[in-house]
């Protein structure tokens, strides 16, 4: 069955059963590595992507739910050559150990910064709660999000727009 998904600014046609969780479609059909399998139960957030701007567990979101919705993955924020603001902040803070949770962390953080560009530390902690990190990188992740917020505040408004037009 052909289903049209709007991923990172582009329409993509996938041929998967409508019950297939977005996670497997992203990884296997579209060959996007960012979202990861961690539990498939909505408990760890390694699969986090943005759906219409909200952080969502792609492991629990069948593509049947996604017609007409806008999906963004970490690949839609930037590339290694041109990283997005949040990715750049994580790189500067070296906010990763094994790195497996990090793409999910970035997407959840992006969802926060999209609607609240200047969150308090308490708000950041509360917002990031659904995402697990087992290596104990939390302090760096919090610093990276704080840094991204500062970088965003310092940017001229014209540059802050979504990067997915360029990097679908």
């Amino acid at each position: 069955m052909a289903i049209k998904l709007h991923v990172n600014g582009q329409d993509r046609i996938v041929r998967s059963d409508p019950s297939t969780p977005l996670l497997y479609v992203l990884r296997n059909d579209l060959e996007l590595n960012g979202a990861k399998y961690g539990c498939g139960l909505g408990q760890c957030g390694a699969c986090t992507v943005q759906v219409d701007g909200n952080a969502a567990f792609s492991c629990l979101t069948p593509i049947a739910l996604l017609e007409g919705k806008s999906i963004r993955t970490v690949e839609g924020l930037g590339t290694a050559a041109h990283p997005g603001v949040v990715q750049r902040a994580f790189e500067l803070e070296q906010a990763a150990q094994c790195g497996y949770c990090i793409a999910g962390m970035i997407m959840r953080a992006q969802a926060l910064l999209d609607r609240e560009p200047d969150p308090s530390d308490a708000e950041i902690r509360a917002h990031m709660q659904p995402n697990l990190c087992r290596c104990g990188t939390h302090m760096r992740i919090l610093r990276a999000i704080r840094r991204a917020s500062e970088m965003l505040k310092a940017m001229p408004a014209s540059k802050k727009g979504a990067t997915d037009e360029r990097h679908g």
Partner: protein, 755 residues
Amino acid sequence: MSDTGEGLLRRRAFLAAGALVVNFSLRGNARAQLSGGGEGSGGPAVVDPKLIGDLKTSPLLDSWIRIDGAGHVTVFTGKVELGQGIRTALIQVAAEELDIAPGTIELVTADTARTPDEGLTAGSHSMQDSGRAIQNAAANVLALLKREAARRWGVAADSLSTNGQGEILSGDARKLSYGSLAEALSLHVDAVPGVPLRDPGTYRTMGRSLPRVDILAKLTGGASYVQDMRLPGMLHARVIRGPSYGTRLATIDIEAVARLPGVVKVVRSGQFLAVVAEQEWTAIAAMRKLQASDFSRTATPIPSGTSREIMKALPTREIVILDTTDAVAPAVASVKANYSRPWLHHGSIGPSCAVAKYQDGIMTVWSHSQGIFDVRRVVADLCELPIEQVHGIHAPGSGCYGQNGADDVAADAALVAKAMPGRPIRLQWMREQEQGWEPLGPGMVTDVEASLDANHRIVAWNYAVWSNPHNNRPVGAGGVIAGGEVVPPHPVPEGKPIPMPEGDGSRNSNPLYVLPNVHVRYHFAKDMPVRVSALRSLGAHLNVFSIESTFDELAKAAGVDPLAMRLSHMQDERARAVMQTAADRFGWAHRRKGDGYRGCGMGFARYKNIGAYCAVVLEVEVDADAGRIRVHRVVAAVDSGTVVSPDGIRNQIEGAVLQSLSWTMTEQARFDALHRRSFDWSAYPIHRFEDVPGSVEVHIVERPGLPFLGTAEAGQGPTAAALANAFADATGCRLRDMPLSAEKVRAVLAARDRA
């Protein structure tokens, strides 16, 4: 080595009688430091004991370093990237000793066809084993390049220098690139000992915090993990088992599932069962159908009770770790305490995964196991292939923190691949399979009794620890789950203790403090009621918790400051420096006094007494009604010898602190008689963002020129102890059985308030 070590050795008395087995503690002898920390097969035999690190077992220079005509350098290591930053650190080491830019180096990690066998990446041994080997191999290679340049120019080799850009320079400004020199050389020669290393004063790379070479890809969706591999024609597999180790599903309607659209094959071999499909989601759905069945237990029932009840009921043999007898002043006070920790999950965020392909008689396995050469041995054994026909390649997974499901999944994937020649097979465990089947960190208990004289000096120290083996690393098919499922099944090997100085349950059971009348006993229980193997820091987590908690209890009995108590019994200068640094940076001298709710505590250990030194000081605030311990501030100090990447060290210690706080405060694997109950994050919660400390600082005590010391596991024990000590300072109550859960906190504080 410090004088302290030799002094202790002379005073040590060895007992040899009957059922006792004596452990030697060889100080300052690198051979006693087993490759990979003594876990797994430990690597190949020593060829040249005069060489440094794993050059001993792989002395040929081109095993480690190759340079092509264009000057591109390839470095080979038998160690692997686990998220600890070793890839970048080893590149820095090589770049430094070769005096070239790190960006020109390609590092190849464990590959049975291409790299040396360095045993496991475990036990915080990578810098000692591989780092030093690469450092010395690089020095050897540079010496050969200089010698060749000297020959061509007709000058003395020691008149030549390097400029950090891959060029040798003569005194009169002539230049030759490494590439042009290497073309004329063979590096297929043995390393020689004693080649001088670069002067740390001239370092360009080592000692700096280079951005890790792997992080940017992980931030931007680059293919970084074994889970990201996509090979042409690859199929997706899921293994079908009961809910946890020692269980089996009852009825399985294989025919119905094999007929499901998209299912390519159902692979059976004895009890081993896997379903293979073109689409991953199809494989998962088919797996769920096959698992909709009752299960029964195949092993003996899991005993119920606390760690103490379970461990003390097991038959053990006693291993003497330390026994000294000294004349001392009479004791005026004593502290007697028992400590414990439960079984713990590794809790890898990404459940284990492997890719395997069997083609033209060659089995290739991509795995995130810490021991790729052992994976090769296991797969050869299980699939009944000659070892030369099995090729193991490391591909990173998520953090493993010891032996998780990686080796089992590699074997599972290989079995499936063998049944489907020509098709790459990607086999991924589900979350509940990782939780249910991986080996756990062993539950352990300790009994401690120590006494003080009238001058607040410790005069006797009696310590006993009970543990299962921590080293059940698979070295043959019997060590993996599939090995027990095929017919005939491979027997599970008996777990053996790792001898000191590494130790396993005994790791860090011998205090670094200078103490008289020390009696340390290891009650080794080979029968494992629960499947266990190595979890980061092994026995050090509980042993350091026990020793450092006892030190605080002794300090309290003596009316002495906990830091002063430690310093007055510690002669190792580096240990003293680390404790003092952490204390000073924390503001220990003018810290807030425990007021019933807030308090401060410290913990110290030198990992294995031969690894990195780490002291942790932290401040807590306790909410008695919620039972919640909030950690406000953590200050750690670490001495890792020569520092390759300061930020890498800080990252490792920060991570160790947070992980240990989660273990110590919150975590506990759960069972009933039939199976494990802690099958997902809901049933096995770990710390989340709301639980982590307010702040964590790590201060590095620099020791340029001293040997590298493994740091990855140095923080676990001191953090656990610091937490318990801070809680005691805050509330006046001691908690000795991990986890220091909300329920226990409420209970002990309610009891305090009743009294």
